[in-house]
């Protein structure tokens, strides 16, 4: 927990503090000569120092100290918590995810922000557009998280994104006639690679029965009664039907009076691994293969008849959960990057651009060779700010990742919270160790920022 005040303090108060110290040195030297007391500057600094000490330095030191003790806080365990942390697979996943976040999210946000800023610079409705892009920043992380749980919901009837994906998919692929229908485990049909085949081969002149189950009752009510196929000389005939009658009296694999035929199913007669003929069932479930050469055929119902309706993408499943959450982060922060970069763009001296154009540079060259170098400092600030921000990401993951893939989406800040505070026996020793590591990771970015500010001041 200790690094949080530190982050915000250094981001804003740091440079201001440095500036104050420098400007303060002049007058204080004069007064020193005048004999007004050398304690005066310290007096002015005191409130800030006390606050910083209490709110920043003390928590950091205490966290480091606490990380050397066990869960109870009484027994000194040395570096055991750090060892435990790096041998724990959960923390390792969290570390790995943090790395992915740091590498991907700031770069993505900055480049999107740059694109938006450059494009909107010349658009008429720039302000309106920027307002819209910036708007997600006005929403709290938690609320954004809740919004995205609705966007990413697995079920297409609830999840916005899957509704779109399924809608697009269904435009290009027709739904199968009987999704989910299957044969019983025992019976004339066997399953092979998703398709259903007769266990015994049949010859022209014979009749086959192809019973299927698992057709919804609602669907069955709409269907026509099944009819036994008549044997015809020289033709292979058969029936595909819904072999289910409620209650125990019905016989399996037999066409009972109330059972329904399955129409519109593609049936194949297979001989020696090759499809010899194809037929489609009538509404009563019957089909006929005519003109087959004499021989033994396996009758097959291809998998396409029974494919489950396309259900969209498992966005919040273990494999996609981190990219999905990063996308929601980009949605939130692209506006922030756009506004900062837009301000930077506005500050670029126009004459430099004009000079390049006069010299015959193309727009792309102007962008690459003039705009980008002039904009580099701003891009750097945005990047580094985002890196710090991303390292302590917590809320989005806590809210969006469902329990079943939280472990796969875990990051250090969340792991620290889970270890320290969840359950009646939270281990704040281990939690503190994670916090210290998190602080160490943030430090380089902060150092970089401070140095840059110094250079600008100088």
């Amino acid at each position: 927990m200790a690094e949080r005040p530190e982050l915000t303090e250094t981001g804003t108060a740091g440079p201001a503090g440095a500036g104050a110290a420098e400007t303060g040195s002049g007058p204080s030297a004069e007064r020193g000569r005048a004999g007004a007391g050398r304690w005066l500057p310290s007096g002015f600094l005191a409130p800030a120092l006390v606050l910083l000490g209490l709110l920043v330095a003390y928590p950091i030191l205490f966290t480091i100290w606490r990380s050397l003790f066990d869960a109870g806080g009484d027994t000194f365990v040395g570096l055991d918590n750090y060892v435990a942390m790096f041998t724990d697979s959960q923390t390792f996943t969290a570390l790995k995810n943090n790395l992915i976040w740091v590498l991907v999210a700031p770069a993505l946000v900055t480049s999107l922000g740059l694109i938006f800023a450059v494009l909107t610079e010349r658009v008429r409705w720039a302000t309106a557009f920027r307002l819209v892009v910036f708007m997600p920043m006005a929403i709290s992380m938690v609320a954004a998280g809740v919004i995205f749980t609705l966007v990413y919901d697995r079920a297409p009837e609830r999840g916005l994104l899957n509704a779109v994906v399924v809608g697009v998919h269904d435009v290009f692929a027709d739904p199968s006639p009987f999704p989910g229908a299957r044969p019983r485990d025992t019976g004339p049909l066997a399953t092979r690679a998703g398709a259903y085949e007769t266990r015994q081969q049949a010859r022209p002149g014979q009749t086959v029965t192809l019973p299927l189950v698992a057709i919804t009752p609602q669907r069955q009510r709409e269907l026509a009664p099944a009819r036994s196929a008549q044997a015809r000389p020289g033709a292979l005939t058969g029936t595909v039907w819904a072999d289910f009658t409620p209650g125990a009296q019905a016989k399996a694999n037999q066409i009972d009076p109330t059972e329904k035929g399955l129409g519109g199913i593609t049936v194949e007669a297979v001989s020696g691994g090759r499809v010899a003929a194809t037929a489609t069932t009538a509404a009563d479930g019957t089909f006929t293969f005519t003109g087959l050469a004499d021989g033994a055929y396996t009758v097959r119902l291809p998998a396409g008849n029974f494919a489950q309706p396309y259900n969209g993408v498992n966005w919040l499943g273990p494999s996609l959960v981190t990219p999905a959450i990063i996308a929601s982060y980009v949605w939130m922060w692209a506006g922030f990057a756009m506004v900062l970069i837009g301000a930077g763009l506005a500050a670029i001296p126009r004459d430099a651009l004009e000079a390049a154009r006069v010299d015959g540079a193309t727009e792309w060259q102007v962008f690459r060779r003039v705009t980008m170098p002039l904009l580099a400092p701003v891009l750097m600030v945005v990047m580094v700010t985002l890196v710090i921000n991303v390292l302590k990401i917590f809320d989005l993951i806590y809210i969006i990742a469902p329990g079943s893939s939280q472990e796969e989406a875990n990051v250090l800040a969340l792991q620290m919270y889970l270890r320290s505070f969840v359950g009646e026996r939270g281990d704040q020793g281990l939690g503190s160790a994670i916090a210290v590591v998190l602080l160490l990771l943030v430090l380089p970015a902060m150092m970089f920022n401070i140095r840059r500010f110094r250079r600008e001041q100088g």
């Binding site: 959960q90 919901d153 697995r154 079920a155 009837e157 989910g180 299957r182 019983r184 189950v213 698992a214 057709i215 919804t216 009752p217 669907r219 069955q220 819904a242 289910f244 009658t245 409620p246 209650g247 125990a248 019905a250 259900n311 498992n314 919040l316 499943g317 990742a401 469902p402 329990g403 079943s404 893939s405 939280q406 472990e407 875990n410 889970l418 969840v422 359950g423 009646e424 026996r425």
Partner: protein, 440 residues
């Protein structure tokens, strides 16, 4: 996270609150007749703390009003928020604990007793407990041989909720009573074109409850208690056997939304998947609080559109797994002991039983007090279970193992739901996490 298990209870009570108008007239007479015999506590002020809010709190206040009527003591009710242990801990350390509190977890009761935060109950309460409760409830309320808590309210988590229409369509007339029957029923439902099960795999705790029911019945009470304390390993053959049983039912094509969909459905979603306007499944497993979700979030009516059968017997006897809220005394005074004694009586439990959304472990409560058949059935299985009632195992385990979203038992069973084929790997993963959390 455990608090989530409590949330839906409120709904139950809310609905049951409707029954209040009917029973309110009858309630008064009981108090009057007993009023003469009770000890007079006029002028005594008592504070009671419990997790209940909303309708449940209203109903509990009616129970407390019965005590006031009987003894003249003034009782105020304070809700604790979701984390009772943390609330009481801070109150005790701050020097102002309530006189009586309702503890929802047995582990907390033992912990508080060890710290000396709760007081042993007097002999008259003990006698009343022996008279009205099965031995198991006395044991659950005791620590080191001394009785500290009276279980006033029980939760039954061994219930299968089902849609009668789906059963009719499949021609199933009798709800299954054994596990083999249940597997067969699921098969028949699937053949009929219905998806048999909705599993709230997004909430890891529902999966631990599934496992506990199967395990309590298949391995028996002794093993159950040993596993709860991690005295036997999760790689024990009994555990693997229970997992194998679960795998018979947790087949992707038996689950609404498949394994992936189940893993993102939380408990309310799993219930609406069965009883909502566009039903996706025929059965859903969870505790008595499902009734509240059905009435709160769907148009279905409990008793006609939604029915319930007890979790089938996997071994010799059907399991009854659940929890309970135990009344404990935090301040040594006459009034507090009297109040706990009152809560151990059938009289107190009957008041809430009539209002609904309540299950009493008290044998002396007349089953006729419950407002409908479903609630009577739920209460009956708790009483009938007697000493075979099992406290929710994951609630007895360290939170890191039994109560944390995304890790420990919750996560391992979610992994198992996704990949029910590999029992050995699941057992090994459970054992690794348990060993870490129990530190043994």
């Amino acid at each position: 996270m455990r608090s989530m298990r409590r949330l839906p209870l409120r709904g139950t009570a809310l609905v049951a609150g409707l029954a209040l108008a009917l029973t309110a007239c009858g309630g008064g007479e009981d108090g009057d007749s007993d009023g003469a015999t009770g000890t007079s506590l006029k002028g005594v002020k008592l504070e009671v703390a419990a997790v209940w809010t909303g309708g449940e709190a209203e109903n509990f206040k009616k129970v407390l009003a019965g005590f006031t009527k009987k003894t003249g003591a003034t009782v105020t009710y304070t809700p604790t928020g979701d984390n009772v242990a943390a609330y009481l801990g801070s109150k005790i350390q701050g020097g102002g604990p309530p006189d009586v509190a309702m503890l929802p977890q047995q582990g907390v009761l033992v912990e508080f007793a060890k710290k000396g935060w709760i007081k042993p109950l007097g002999d008259d309460v003990k006698q009343l407990m022996q008279q009205n409760y099965a031995q198991i409830w006395q044991d659950l309320g005791s620590s080191d041989g001394k009785l500290y808590g009276v279980y006033f309210k029980a939760a039954n988590k061994s219930l299968m909720w089902y849609r009668p229409r789906a059963f009719e369509d499949a021609g199933i007339t009798q709800p299954p009573t054994t596990w083999a029957d249940l597997v067969k029923t699921a098969g028949t439902l699937s053949d009929s074109g219905a998806t048999p099960l909705s599993v709230a795999g997004g909430d890891g705790w529902t999966l631990t409850d599934w496992f506990e029911n199967v395990y309590a019945s298949s391995a028996g009470g002794e093993k159950y208690n040993q596993l709860a304390k991690h005295e036997i390993k999760w790689t024990d053959p009994t555990v693997k056997d229970a997992l194998r049983r679960l795998a018979e039912l947790w087949k992707p094509n038996y689950l609404a939304g498949g394994a992936d969909g189940s893993l993102q459905a939380d408990m309310p979603k799993s219930v609406t998947a069965v009883f909502g306007p566009d039903p996706k499944a025929a059965m859903v497993y969870e505790g008595d609080f499902v009734a509240g979700v059905i009435t709160g979030e769907t148009e279905a009516k409990v008793g006609t559109d939604a029915k319930v059968f007890p979790f089938p017997a996997v071994g010799a006897k059907p399991p009854v797994v659940g929890g309970g809220d135990a009344a404990v005394v935090l301040k040594e005074n006459k009034g507090a002991q009297e109040l706990v004694k009152y809560l151990a009586s059938a009289e107190a439990a009957t008041i809430w039983a009539k209002l609904g959304g309540f299950t009493s472990p008290n044998k002396a409560v007349n089953p006729a007090s419950y407002p409908d058949d479903i609630q009577r059935q739920i209460a009956k299985s708790v009483i009938d279970a007697g000493n075979d009632f099992r406290f929710d195992m994951s609630d007895l385990a360290p939170a890191a193992f039994g109560g944390t979203k995304g890790s420990g038992e919750w996560k391992r069973l979610q992994d198992f739901l996704k990949n029910p084929g590999d029992v050995d790997a699941a057992a090994a993963a459970l054992e690794a996490d348990a060993a870490k959390a129990f530190k043994n």
